[in-house]
Amino acid sequence: MSIIEVNKLNLFYGNFQALKEITLRIEKQKITALIGPSGCGKSTFLRTLNRMNDLIDDVRISGSVKISGNDIYGSDVDLLALRKKVGMVFQRPNPFPLSIYDNVVYGLRVHGILDKKIMEQKLQWSLESVHLWDEVKDKLDQNALTLSGEQQQRLCIARLAVVEPEVLLMDEPCSALDPMSTAKIEDLMYELKKQYTIIIVTHNMQQAARVSEYTGYFLLGELVEFGETNQIFTSPKDSRTEDYLTGRFG
């Protein structure tokens, strides 16, 4: 069952067209990887799904993006509710320079949940879901910046988990991490897909092959090929995909 349907999506930064006629469907509770060389539009595409591009001046969008059947670019869209539903993990771990506790409950506070009991329950639940609880339960009031990079990235996922999104957008979540930490985050993604639909932008083709069920290959703003990861990696239909996957460029 698909949760996201994108139809003929075009995006312009001023006169530059960053996305061209993107059409694809994202399956519910699967991991979809978006690969491609730098500047090909994969991050831009990811950011159209929670409308983070709205923050940039001079962006124009045409086409439609439907999440659970609702056009998120419609005129009656509640942007805050959309972003609650479609959460984002960024490239660099970016906890707020606040305590671990304040970081995790931030999303609750923002959405008006101020009850101490509920906060503490959700705090423990979300930190457990990213396997960070045991490491930090005794130092919840410590500044989150004192954690290691990988712990920080887990914390960022926990911070997102408390608002209970349905879709997780991950924008190269491991690019600032070493291989061991990357493996841990990938294991975590496997577990998380039981609850969430995950879309991951990655530079790392092995990572896409390892974690994802579906893969889309972006090149110069176009979605060149989209399909099951196995098929894309073993028998790509488009010669440009093959060139990229075999390392002829990229």
Binding site: L82, N94, V110
Partner: protein, 278 residues
Amino acid sequence: MYVNPRLEQRVVQSILWLFTAITVFILFYIIFFILKNGLPVLNYQFLTTNPTDMGKSGGIYSTIIGTIALTIGAILIATPLGVGTAIYLTEYTLESKITRVIRFGSECLAGIPSIIFGLFGFILFVTKLKFGWSILSGSLTLAFMILPTIIRTSEEALKSVPYNLREVSFSLGGTKWQTVTKVVLPSALPGIVTGVILSVGRSISETAAVIFTAGSALRIPTSIFSSSRTMAVHFYILAREGISMPNAYGTAAVLIIAILIINITAYRLMHKFMKKYS
């Protein structure tokens, strides 16, 4: 003409060292001179008794109170205005002609001589609005004077908060205001406080703007409509009218020590702030 580069290097280095030494020497000499003349009259009594006989004898208690009252007034008025403007400029607008005009305006405000502020305050607050020579008139005038400093430092502090923290907050479904109050302001606070503290220093030492608007009454002020004399004004009158040089130096010493403490605090805060984000 060819000069041996090694020789040149040494000569230039010595000259630059000399310039620095002169600057530092002048600075320390001023402080030393004031303290040398002022410290002998400084004692507990000097700080806690009111001036008598126009300041010829007695202490400076009422002028300390006057200074504190005026400064608190100015800070209470200027901080919300300045920080609010800075938040609007950095968070709620994109760079445009209008923001540049606002910024240019506030910079011009910073360059206006304080005596002009005094005259303006005298005409507007003292006479036109009939606040008289009072703490209120003085505070309002001082507030306008320190406003550019507060806007400028607050803007810098807000800008130094990494943009991606705002993005995270938006991506979690936070509104702009929630993002500003819960993420941006707490992170920028030390920087903003530094600007406010520097403004406190400026308010304390201001003379021209205050003498026109708060007057020079030696009584302890009883309300915001009381006229009051600040330490800086007291020093000016004592010295200028030759009432008592020892007491003038004593007042100056208190002023300088206060400013030193304030600046050291501001410097420390700034340092802590920089360390956090670099």
